[in-house]
Amino acid sequence: MTNQSNVATTPMTMIQALRSAMDVMLERDPNVVVFGQDVGYFGGVFRCTDGLQAKYGTSRVFDAPISEGGIVGTAVGMGAYGLRPVVEIQFADYFYPASDQIVSEAARLRYRSAGEFTAPITVRMPCGGGIYGGQTHSQSPEALFTHVCGIRTVMPSNPYDAKGLLIASIENDDPVVFLEPKRLYNGPFDGHHDRPIVPWSTHPLGMVPEGYYSTPLETASIVRPGEALTVLTYGAMVFVCEAAANESGIDAEIIDLRSLWPLDLPTVVASVNKTGRCIVVHEATRTSGFGAELVALVQEHCFYRLEVPIERVAGWDTPYPHALEWSYFPGPDRVGAAMQRAMEQT
């Protein structure tokens, strides 16, 4: 993380941090525009763009028709013109109508035009469950994006990273899919849904510089150093894994990948070579999830150091249910049990 040393910070929720990132970039770069459904006058259903239209005007921050394909399609055209659009898909569950423009267009412009045309766009989308949203307000489709060459997939887990990574994504000349775990918008949720909500104001990573800074892409963050076991995770699962480690007392090294693809592979490999044990944790459905790629990479690079099989803890291979949401969500108990198994076996 850059520019971190002695700058004035204020407590921010992830929502405020994201808003601050867009505010900073709208201020610094006249080519940045922000649009999406309800993001203009209203300020977004999650309030991430609240106040930005009032500050920067309707030609730089505006509402869009309910057409994810149109939102990303126009963003691609604006990118080709020379702007840096930051668009919001109201829920990640609704990106599918935009998939052709993301996969066939944004991700391919540079390649097929040999660099003549590019799409330096950022597509923000809230993801993940834990808010009783049912199957169409809870999905985590990140794996689908990581299979598409030409785009970057990023998922922050806290306000500090959210702002730094969003700024880095907007500045990046490649198209970036920026996934925001909505359950973390207002606090570092550790999966204990029956306990009182902890606000970001109580968490060090809720202290965010007001001005410009960027958190480099392709760098993972070791959120909890350890010697016994490597836990590869990201997004909403980071605090769940921390809770599981603390509760199980296992000396786990927890890595928040942050940039899913391209990936900070050296940090991952170094950790597993050190611990010899690894589990992979994500909220998305398990089969062909991004965890599969992580398992494949780890066993390719650390095979001879691995003492036990790499277990995946993930959402079940079902739609995200409404009433049974907490049986679906991979909470600290399931993660803790997997940690135990990884330690016991040999």
């Binding site: 459904q37 309800d38 203009g40 006058y41 209203f42 300020g43 259903v45 509402d63 869009a64 028709p65 309910i66 057409s67 394909g69 149109g70 569950d93 609704y94 599918y96 109508p97 009783y132 949203g133 049912g134 199957q135 169409t136 307000h137 398990r286 089969t287 079940w316 291979d317 079902t318 739609p319 249910p321 409404h322 009433a323 049974l324 049986s327 679906y328 108990d333 399931r334 049990a337």
Partner: protein
Amino acid sequence: RRGMRAMLKTRVFDARMLIAQRQKKISFYMQCLGEEAIATAHALALNDGDMCFPTYRQQGLLLTRDDGVMVEMICQLMSNARDPLKGRQLPVLYSLKRAGFFTLSGNLATQFIQAVGWAMASAIKGDTRIASGWIGDGATAEADFHTALTFAHVYRAPVILNVVNNQWAISTFQAIAGGESTTFAARGVGCGIASLRVDGNDFLAVLAASRWAAERARRNLGPTLLEWVTYRAGAHSSSDDPSKYRPIDDWSHFPLGDPVERFKQHLITIGIWSEDEHESTEHELEAEVAAAQREAEQYGTLLDGHVPLLETMFEDVYKEMPPHLIDQLNKARAAR
């Protein structure tokens, strides 16, 4: 008078469920305040066996029925033991085949093209049942609206394409959906589809236009697009606060007024309805809804922490549960 009852029932039901949501017995709710005439009158124009592909704002299609559907609806809202959808779906995303009510999707517009496909199938089979697709003004910007019009036209599908123009899409006025200086009905004309723009707050107009369109479809005269002009008087959903984006008294300035009030005055004028009858019917319906809610609550609410059986999470993903899901179900059981 049956229509009056249906409209009132819908309004009373919405009011009551909104309260249940605030009491946390329900996690989420969406009312159709101000739009009651459309779904209720339309329902009366359809036959048994016809299939509606609605949005979350056509609860009136179900509430026009008097076959105990209300209890099923509340059980769905409360995701309780008698929820026909086994607690899988967000409240208001009903599915009721016997009522010709297609399973609601959380993804906007997808049902509109499916309605056309269902109607094409009916035509292929030489069947006289028709489909009725529904979409909001805002969602017309989605691809499925366009493909629905194209396919309905190309194959002369026996389908009614309803566009409920209630002026708002969450916080954005219908102009953001392209309603300015044109109409949504005009989209149909452009695609070569017979299209009407109708006062959606006039119960009898809705009934007449719906009957006409249904007749056309049933006689294989092709699709009809119906734009219903109305106003979303309430919040978009229980998670929305309209005061952030429109004047609180906006509805009172809407020229087409309140469908219930208007129909009531009409019926009174022609002398088949009275203030007393109106009031007594309202009380009657309040009692009916309250009773239905009491019955439903016997089977649990979200509040009392009732959750469905674990296996229901893994069932119906495929027709038969494949090995990997059986394995995951066992793991989930162990994790409990």
